[in-house]
């Protein structure tokens, strides 16, 4: 039900007397229209996540790579670097 799919914005136009910003978005060959009401900064060429005809988030390319690198990262860093370990505990922080 909360299914949402990333697609690439192909074109943008104003509809309904200029009140609504709509985009044509390509999902691997299929093009559908979606509202950009929730993403005023989205532009042609951006990858956006679309849910029930409304674009709700812009894909962050840098973050998108992290799932592929996560295992290497935790392998290299081990468990030692968690900053929380070096800070006073939450209770101590509250007390101070």
């Amino acid at each position: 039900m909360c299914l949402a799919i990333p697609g690439k914005i192909r074109s943008v136009e104003m509809k309904h007397n200029g009140m609504v910003r709509m985009a044509k978005i390509s999902f691997g060959g299929i093009t559908k229209e979606a509202s950009l009401d929730m993403l005023p900064d989205a532009e042609i060429g951006d990858y956006v996540l679309v849910h029930v005809g409304v674009a709700i988030s812009k894909v962050n390319e840098e973050e998108a790579q992290k799932t592929f690198k996560y295992l290497e990262e935790i392998g290299e860093l081990g468990d030692l670097i968690d900053v929380e370990d070096y800070l006073p505990s939450k209770d101590e922080r509250k007390a101070s």
Binding site: M1, C2, L3, P6, M38, I56, N60
Partner: protein, 364 residues
Amino acid sequence: MKYMSEYRDPELAKKYLEEIKNTVTRPWSIMEVCGGQTHSLVKNGIIDMLPDSVTMIHGPGCPVCVTPLNLIDKAVHLATEKGVILCSFGDMLRVPGSVKSLLEAKAEGADVRVLYSPLEAVRIAEENPDREVVFFAVGFETTAPANALSVIHAHSRGVKNYSILASHVLVPPAIKAVIDDEESKIDGFLAAGHVCTIMGNAEYHPISEEFNVPIVVTGFEPLDVLQGILMVIRQLEQKKSKVENQYARIVREEGNPDAQKVIHQVFETRDQMWRGIGEIPQSGYAVRAEFADFDATRKYNVTIEEAPEHPDCISGQIMKGIKKPFECSQFGKKCKPTNPLGAPMVSSEGACAAYYHFSGMVEV
């Protein structure tokens, strides 16, 4: 990058599974809140590949499944007795009401339409000025902005024959209710990535702190779910409990402020009935008085007597994660997707339907 198929890479999935096996030292129970994640876990066989010590508990995160029986009866009544054009998402049409489903009402001649977006319903209302159009607006926080936007569009375009029958449910109060249930034993949560896309992560920090549970905001592709599980297990093994974001390519800490603005313009929070679970305080949205003309509940003021659930259905225990679908005496017998006794067998994201189709336990 297409941001989809890359997250289905079987080689990397194996490495994630290996790392999960190497990290776990004792049994843990993790709840994936969202039905989309349940679907991904079962369909991709992840559930069978996880080590035995990791138990996935399937949460209440299927809005179709938790929509009250009484509201489905109301929708059927509007379609059959009031002659409205009743529109909704496809899954909602098949859910059995106490007498019939919307799909059965359609087969008998009612004007019931399956739509991809609530914005299409506003267009249908514009094209049919002599008819009333009602959108059966179900969903979690993910869908609330689109449903609210349909009301704003109708309002600004002067469409007066459009209203929504709203049944909106909210995730954080449900997580709290699940933790509070004395029968539940959940060590950590995968939070629903698309809900957080809208609302951000702020509501989850106090829950994680108060109940000492790790919460990892997680996506829906196989690698997302595997990484989310690994992140929860790493926290559990290190005796940590904080909110982490596995799905940062989509979810910002603050969510989508424009979407939140639209939600709060049209909706206010209220106590909400969850089918199979009961009432959870402040866990739903009602249409604000300013938009009363677009609220089908006020517009039609239909009262329908509460009908009992099917006596054999244990959907409440399924959705709180207390029982698995195959522990139900009717699973795959009297209760099938073609003849569901309860909602989790209807929606493709319901735990019972996911097990029915993909677990190999039932010969379809």
